[in-house]
């Protein structure tokens, strides 16, 4: 659950700081969010395709 929800929370915080004009905080949280996203996506990329046996 955490790996799915965490990118949203970090992304939301990044958007909030972006709205405030605090770019450094926004970009840092954006990077964190993208990294967690990558971990979450990696778990799915290894799953078998519909054509796999």
């Amino acid at each position: 659950m955490v790996i799915i929800v965490l990118p949203f929370l970090a992304g939301l915080a990044a958007v909030w700081f972006g709205m405030l004009g605090r770019r450094r905080a926004c970009v840092a949280l954006w990077l964190v969010s993208l990294a967690v996203f990558g971990v979450g996506l990696r778990l799915h990329l290894g799953a078998p395709l519909g054509l796999s046996w």
């Binding site: 990118p7 949203f8 004009g21 993208l34 996203f37 290894g46 799953a47």
Partner: protein
């Protein structure tokens, strides 16, 4: 240089329009989840997260002025979104596989997401060619009311996406133990929709 005469207004207006489109797209995804009752699979949630991250770059363009860094953020997030959407498309590529969820305009929502991410990348590439960097600084610019409204709408869409992820995960539909199982109920398998 298309926007060199008035770099602040034209470029930021275009970014605001695209950000509005991203917000509406996220809103549509939430509408399908909460109003139409279509369950959001883990890959669908990841695609939404990618759109939120892509929108963050556009939002920075709107708030601080256009910068290659901001466009780069949008491109990277859109590529991540394309990877997630493309993975889901491949997952349902087998003949007789109904795919996940109801069709929208003859296509599944993840196909629309794939195309939206591709369009975002094309947009950023175009803007990087035409748009002139007008100060790659973190100095805040004054945002007109319409721009502020778009930013607020995007924030609400992002907040709704967090709620959507929590709502989906509450039922255990995004647990990682079953991620590798293509047909597990509640995953992005064909039986989930």
């Amino acid at each position: 240089m298309m926007f060199s005469a008035n770099p602040a207004r034209g470029s930021r207006a275009v970014n605001a329009v695209v950000l509005l489109g991203v917000s509406l797209f996220l809103g549509l995804a939430l509408f399908r989840q909460f109003v139409q009752g279509e369950p959001a699979c883990p890959l669908c949630l990841l695609q939404r997260a990618a759109l939120v991250l892509a929108g963050a770059g556009l939002l920075l363009n709107l708030r601080l002025g256009p910068s290659p860094l901001h466009y780069g953020m949008t491109i990277a997030a859109a590529l991540a979104g394309m990877a997630a959407a493309g993975r889901q498309m491949l997952r349902h590529i087998a003949p007789d596989d109904p795919g996940h969820g109801a069709l929208l305009g003859g296509l599944h929502f993840y196909t629309w997401t794939f195309m939206a991410c591709a369009a975002l990348i094309a947009f950023c590439a175009l803007m990087l060619c035409m748009d002139r960097k007008w100060g790659d600084s973190a100095i805040k610019r004054r945002v007109p009311a319409a721009g502020a409204a778009v930013m607020a709408l995007f924030f609400l869409a992002s907040l709704g996406s967090v709620g959507g992820a929590f709502a989906q995960c509450e039922g255990g539909a995004c647990g990682m133990r079953a991620v590798g199982a293509p047909d597990a109920p509640g995953q992005d398998g064909a039986r989930a929709g």
